[in-house]
């Protein structure tokens, strides 16, 4: 179905998420790359060797959650915008999620925006914690949102009212 709709299945998503224990320890990337395409900037971006594509740039990146520091440098480097960072260490009921967002207007810190799933459907309101848009991110801003823990595996996008 993924190849017909662009929506990955629940199983595919779960396979890419690090174990919940790791998520609860602190920020960690989720590398949602499902298809072999010639591309390796994630590996180039990672200073900790947590993402390995290898000699053949068509390989699907292998991700090592225990090497990942959650620095999120890979997020704005991935041409497919396929990487997010999740952090379950901050609270028992909520998680923090960092995602790339290339639309205007950018949300304000503290703003409540709509949280969307992988189909673009509204699932819950989320609070914007941080908006990072330095020159080094090259016009791919990274938004940190705080989300109800129940939506850890479904939240993937936000919608900001103009």
């Amino acid at each position: 179905m993924f190849e017909k709709t662009g929506i990955p299945s629940k199983e595919m998503i779960m396979e890419k998420f690090p174990p919940i224990e790791r998520i609860n320890e602190g920020p960690v990337a989720v590398v949602e790359c499902y298809q072999k395409i010639p591309c390796n900037p994630c590996q180039t971006a990672c200073k900790f060797n947590a993402i390995i594509v290898g000699e053949d740039i068509n390989n699907i990146p292998e991700f090592y959650p225990n090497k990942c520091t959650g620095c999120a440098l890979c997020l704005s480097k991935c041409p497919g915008l396929s990487i997010i960072v999740v952090d379950g260490s901050k609270s028992k009921d909520r998680v923090e999620v960092r995602l790339p967002y290339e639309f205007l207007p950018l949300p304000e810190e503290g703003q409540i925006v709509k949280g969307l799933d992988r189909e673009g459907e509204y699932i819950t309101d989320v609070k914007v914690i941080k908006v990072l848009n330095p020159k080094s991110f090259d016009r791919t801003p990274i938004i940190t949102i705080e989300v109800d823990r129940r939506f850890l595996y479904t939240i993937r996008n936000i919608s900001v009212e103009a």
């Binding site: 190849e3 709709t5 790359c33 010639p38 390796n40 740039i57 068509n58 041409p79 396929s82 090259d138």
Partner: protein, 365 residues
């Protein structure tokens, strides 16, 4: 008549890289470019590129011409650039005829010619496909990303290849609503990361769908689409209506290489490469000696591959007229490896099978 070492026809990604490669080898280069600016399609690509560092992966296409042009500047005294100039003829005696701004018409006699003319968009036949509001994806990108003009307000994208997916995303970035993306194929043709990107913005992707007709009096008002079966035949009763003022047609590209056909290069129809393409050897030389080719003109592919083909063909074209640097083999091997890397995944399979049919000598690059 103007004389030149190497003339490159087309100043897009392939042509610019070919020029840099040949200049690096010591050749003089003359670039003929139809448009006002160099860079070709790179100038419209606001998204980040795939590939690896050597092909500027992760940079945005729009920023690549600047990098290449600043490198070109280092060879200022060895390169001549003719913009607003169209190569209109390529003759048996090697002469190229050029029309500059539709007023100045002149001849150039190069020692070697490299054709990097790119590709053009395929059309789609359906009733009223000539209504204003129905664009090719390239035109939408030119309006939006070069001139900052919105093509309309509500768009139906026809084609879920990389261009259809990317342009849909760019339209949304410009504040234009994309109602749906359709494709007659049963599967999304473009990279799935691009598909997921537009899907999580809420845009449905309808595979096995095509346009039945466009409706509108003076301009596009509605699009009727329907499902198709596995033989691509419309299924009756599956019609859906979309209220749109723009239909963006993105159903693939065809190599633009009439100059090569005119010159007598042996051509072959290869569906995997987008249409009629020249036979060529490993060094990208065609069946006519001293006529080289690179980029989409030799088969439709990504800009990353076009750039590397340019480097390789430029290196070999310069070597052909005596500018063969000491590290020739090293550079040639590196470019070939880069091309192999870009094409060795599942996405490159059909490209390789196409190349296998046009490669003189049969060895795969």
């Amino acid at each position: 008549m103007k004389q030149a070492d190497l003339v490159i026809i087309g100043g897009g990604p392939a042509g610019l890289c070919a020029a840099l490669s040949a200049l690096k080898s010591g050749s003089n280069v003359l670039i003929i470019e139809r448009n006002k600016d160099l860079g070709g399609q790179l100038r419209k690509q606001t998204h980040m590129f795939f590939g690896s560092e050597k092909q500027h992966a992760s940079l945005r296409g729009i920023d690549i011409p600047e990098i290449l042009l600043s490198q070109l500047k280092e060879y200022e005294d060895k390169v001549e650039i003719l913009t607003d100039s169209t190569a209109v003829g390529l003759y048996e005696d090697g002469v190229i005829t050029v029309l500059k701004k539709e007023e100045d018409y002149f001849k150039i006699k190069p020692k070697v010619t490299l054709v990097a003319t790119g590709a053009f968009e395929k059309a789609l036949a359906f009733p009223n496909n000539d209504l204003p509001g129905i664009y090719g994806a390239g035109a939408v990108q030119t309006l939006m990303n070069v001139h900052g003009v919105k093509p309309g307000n509500k768009v139906l994208m026809v084609g879920a290849g990389n261009i259809g997916l990317i342009v849909s995303y760019q339209l949304m970035q410009a504040g234009v609503e994309v109602k749906a993306i359709l494709d007659a194929a049963p599967r999304i043709g473009g990279y799935l990361v691009h598909a997921s990107k537009v899907r999580r913005m809420g845009v449905p992707i309808l595979t096995s769908h095509t346009v039945k007709e466009a409706i509108g009096k003076n301009e596009l008002e509605k699009a009727i689409v329907c499902q198709v079966d596995e033989k691509f035949m419309p299924i009756e009763g599956t019609e859906k209506e979309f209220d749109v003022d723009v239909m963006c047609i993105s159903v693939g590209l065809t190599p633009l290489n009439e100059l090569l056909a005119m010159r007598g290069c042996e051509m072959k129809y290869i569906p995997q490469l987008g249409g009629l393409v020249p036979l060529r050897d490993e060094n990208y030389e065609t069946t006519v000696e001293n006529i080289f080719v690179a980029g989409d003109a030799t088969g439709v592919e990504e800009a990353s591959a076009a750039m590397v083909e340019g480097y390789l063909a430029g290196l070999c074209a310069a070597a052909k007229i005596g500018y063969k640097p000491e590290n020739f083999e090293e550079r040639r091997t590196d470019y070939m490896k880069q091309l192999k890397d870009l094409r060795s995944g599942p996405a490159g399979g059909h490209i390789l099978s196409g190349i296998g049919q046009v490669l003189i000598g049969g060895k795969n690059v």
